[in-house]
Structure formats: C-alpha cells, structure tokens
C-alpha cells in the first residue's frame, strides 16, 4: 500500500508542475480583493497580488516593496485560483515572508526596487516556486540555475506598450533556435557568451526549448497583444496595468482570456476585441526615465 510517508513537497518537478498548469492562461495583476474577484470571474488562471500596479509605481516613484501581508491574505481569501506575489530582487526575507503566507508562486520582480545589486535569491532554498523575468536567454538560464521554475519575458511593465516584450521574446526564442542548430563544440562558446551554465545550454540543444515554461509579461494591454505574444511562442501571458487601468476591466479581462486560448483564430480575435472601450493610454519607450527591464543581473 502507498502511504504519505514517502511524499515529497517543494521538489523542482512539483514547482515546475504548477507552472505547467498555468499554461495557455492569463495571470492578472490585482490590488484589491474586489479586483481579484473580477479577474477570477473573467477566467484568469492566477492573480498577482500587489499594492500598486506597475503604471502607478512608475507614476509615484519612490521605493516599491513587497505588499502588506494583510492585503495578500485578503486576496487569497477572495479567490480559489493560485495567488502570486512579488518580492524585490535579492530580498530573500521578503520571499521567506511570502512563503510563510502560503502564496502559490513568488515573483522575484524587477518592477519592485531591487534590494541587492549583485545577487538574486537562491530559489532552491524555498518550497514555494519562483518566477523570474528575463530580457535574453543568458538571463533566463542564470535564473533557472538559481532555481526559477518559470521564466517570463520582462517587457517594460506599466507602459501599455508591447514593443519590449516582443523584443525580449524574440531574443530568447531566437537564441534557442540558433542553439538547436549549433554543433557540440559551439555550445561551449554559447555558454560563455550567454554567461550561463553549459549543462543548461546542452539541454536546450537537445530539447529545443527552455527547461521551464516561458511566459510573456510587460506592456500587454489588448486581446491582440496577448495573441501576438502567444503566436511568437509564449506559453501564457501576464497582464498587469493593462486590465485595471482600462475603461472596462471585466469585459477586457474576459476578452484577453479568450484571445489567449484562441490566439490562432483571427475571427474569434476580431469578435472579442470589439467594443471594449479605451485601453490604458500607454507610453512610448522614449518617454520613460526608468527601464525596469534593466534591473536584474
């Protein structure tokens, strides 16, 4: 007979398993239990609990930190889907607190003000899985080597502008393709150039994909943006300011969920894109003075 004696929690396959379950879905930023309900009603596969959406962090300036535990507890109580929360880059104590709160995923996020300019969190020390941002393949593999169970392209959060997310996705997936056609000697050079462990580069050469799922984040605002990310090769999308900074969050959220499922079907995309009201205004890259994507090493 089986017994629970040999059960193992917090292993890498168990962490990566939750990332697999989120695929094909939409993870939405929410700042109140009410918003979390709207997100769940619309079909979000998870919510990201935070105090301010990136667009407001950008506007307010100052230091952005982990959210108040009361606020995270409130959101956990409001919904039945997984709840994620953000810790500052390198701030392993914020991560310890989030784990103690029982969140389902920790985002070591460049949207918050970094706590350490050289080190990311040793994510193997935690039971809770981590997601980390990346702008290129080297950064993605360094985060995976530290124990990240999920990678998201960083994009540029809080802008409503998808151009950076597209750049980062194309860079990561483009290099994966190139490694797929490299010979074994060239893999050493790839590892050096990417500043990434050789074993992970060799694994990519063999499998043709990242060792963990690749999601897209940063600047998505419309159903078409979500479908673009999916057609480019993302496996799930994060939508931050794009939903609750728009005129009509509920219908927009639902439309983005449908667009992510039916990303290859332009007729459905046309249908769900209609009559949503104004999206968030958004800003151009030349108008911003702080690029969050530059944070992280």
């Amino acid at each position: 007979m089986s017994s629970s004696n040999n059960a193992q929690v917090g292993s890498f396959p168990v962490k990566r398993g939750l990332a697999e379950m989120l695929k094909g879905g939409v993870i939405m930023d929410v700042v109140t239990p009410g918003q979390a309900k709207i997100a769940e009603d619309a079909g979000a596969c998870a919510v990201m609990a935070l105090e301010r959406v990136p667009a407001d962090i950008r506007r307010d300036g100052g230091v952005a930190r982990m959210s108040d535990p009361d606020m995270i507890e409130g959101i956990k109580a409001a919904v039945t889907i997984p709840v994620m929360a953000k810790a500052r880059i390198g701030h392993f104590v914020e991560a310890q607190i989030l784990q103690a709160l029982g969140v389902d995923f920790i985002d070591e996020s460049e949207v918050l003000t970094p706590a350490d300019e050289a080190h990311h969190i040793d994510k193997y020390k935690f039971t809770t899985p981590f997601v980390c941002g990346a702008t290129n393949l080297g950064e993605a593999l360094r985060r995976i080597s530290e124990g990240a169970a999920l990678i998201r392209s960083k994009g540029e959060a809080g802008t409503g502008n998808i151009v950076e997310a597209v750049r980062h996705l194309r860079s990561i997936l483009g290099d994966i393709k190139k490694i797929g056609s490299a010979d074994s000697a060239e893999l050493f050079e790839w590892a050096k150039r990417l500043q990434a462990p050789l074993s992970l580069v060799q694994e990519i050469a063999e499998t043709g994909k990242l060792p963990v799922p690749l999601f897209c984040a940063g600047g998505l605002a419309t159903p078409a943006d979500a479908a673009l990310a999916m057609q480019l090769g993302a496996e799930c999308v994060f939508v931050g300011s794009g939903i609750f900074k728009s005129d009509n969050p509920g219908p927009r959220a639902k439309a983005i969920v449908e667009a992510t499922t039916h990303y290859m079907d332009a007729k459905i995309l046309a249908k769900v894109s209609a009559g949503l009201g104004a999206p968030m205004t958004g800003i151009g890259m030349d108008e911003i003075n702080q690029r969050y994507a530059d944070r992280g090493w």
């Binding site: 089986s2 040999n6 168990v14 379950m21 695929k23 879905g25």
Partner: protein, 201 residues
C-alpha cells in the same frame, strides 16, 4: 503503433501539451480541441490539468461545453487529470457557484483538497493493474471525497482514491502527463480499445 485511434486533448487552458507529448510517445495521433468542430471523429478525449474555473468559463463561452457534454454522455471515452477530473465529477466542493460539471463520473471532489502549492507533492503510488509503483505528482490537487457504487478504485493514498474508473471514464487527481512513464495513458488507451470493440458489435 495505433494508427487508427485518434485522441483529442481539450486545449482551452492548462497542461495540454504534456498530454499530447505522452500520446505521441505511445505512437497515437492526437488533436487539440478548442472548438466543436474539433470533436469530430474522436475515439477518446483527455481533459487536462490547469484551472478548472478558467476551463469552465471558456467551455460556456461557446457551444463546446454543450457538445462535449453530449459526446461524453454518448459514451466517448474520457480521461481527466486534476482539473479535468474536477470537471467530470458529479459534485464539486469549494468550486465556484457558476462552475460547470460535465457529470460523467459519480464522484464527489473537493477542489485543492490536498492544499495550496506549498502542500503539492510527489510520491510513488500503487496502481492495481501495474506490477511496480507509479511516480505521481500532485499539484494543488483535488481530493476524491466519495465515490458511487459503479466507480472502481485503481489507486489510493491513505484510503483516499486517486485513480478511478467508471465505464469508459478514467480520472486521476495526479498528473501522469508530467512524467515519462506511459502506463496510466496505456490504461486509457485500453479503455478506448474496449469501447471500439463494443461499439462494433
């Protein structure tokens, strides 16, 4: 190779790719199911893990929910893992009030009954028809709280069923698609063959 068998995988949200990979490993043809037209000519269908509330929403957003339910009640073999099992259950506890149940298996399940992600686990389980343990991953897994008389238990942990069968329906609270061991998918394949043999008579 089993060239004549075509298995659909519901692809609204969740870990459908991993199931496709396992079916490919078995030498089977598979098809992603997103719309009603994708249901044509299927010999069986897999309902994957993911978020059952998300999938439920997307099922009712089109005719797919109604058509799928019709096919399942006509006896199309079905295998649900985790969220997929929740959707098959007659009674869902801790779900959303508007969550749909396809009601193809006489079981009562509790969503996230094994807890949140920090309680997710992996362990070896004993499956009745297999001669060695199967390594099973449980991710925010649902608990099967009770089963009807026509439901057969194929594996349990601490007396709680984790793999069950009723007629041509198979359901697990764990994720056989996340390991390379194909034996649970083979059980589903044998159910499909059974149904094909019966319907030809």
């Amino acid at each position: 190779m089993n060239p004549r068998v075509l298995v659909g995988v519901l692809a609204l949200q969740g870990a459908f790719d991993a199931h496709v990979q396992r079916l490919t490993d078995l030498g089977l043809e598979s098809r992603l199911v997103k719309n009603t037209s994708d249901l044509v000519d299927l010999d069986g269908i897999i309902l994957p893990g993911g978020e059952s509330t998300t999938m439920s929403n997307l099922l009712v957003a089109s005719d797919l929910g109604v058509e799928l339910s019709k096919r399942l009640h006509d006896g199309l073999p079905v295998f649900g893992t985790c969220a997929g099992m929740i959707m098959m259950a007659r009674t869902i506890h801790d779900g959303r009030p508007d969550q749909i149940s396809l009601d193809v298996m006489d079981i009562q399940v509790r969503r996230n009954g094994y807890g949140r992600q920090n309680d997710s686990f992996e362990q070896d389980i004993t499956i009745t028809s297999l001669d060695s343990p199967f390594h099973a991953l449980f991710i925010r897994a649902p608990v099967i709280e009770s089963i009807g008389n026509d439901v057969e238990v194929l594996a349990s942990i601490d007396e709680r069923p984790v793999l069950v069968r009723q007629a041509y329906a198979l359901a697990s609270s764990f994720h056989p698609e996340l390991v390379t061991d194909l034996r649970v998918h083979e059980i589903f394949l044998s159910i499909i063959h059974e149904s094909l043999t019966t319907s030809k008579r």
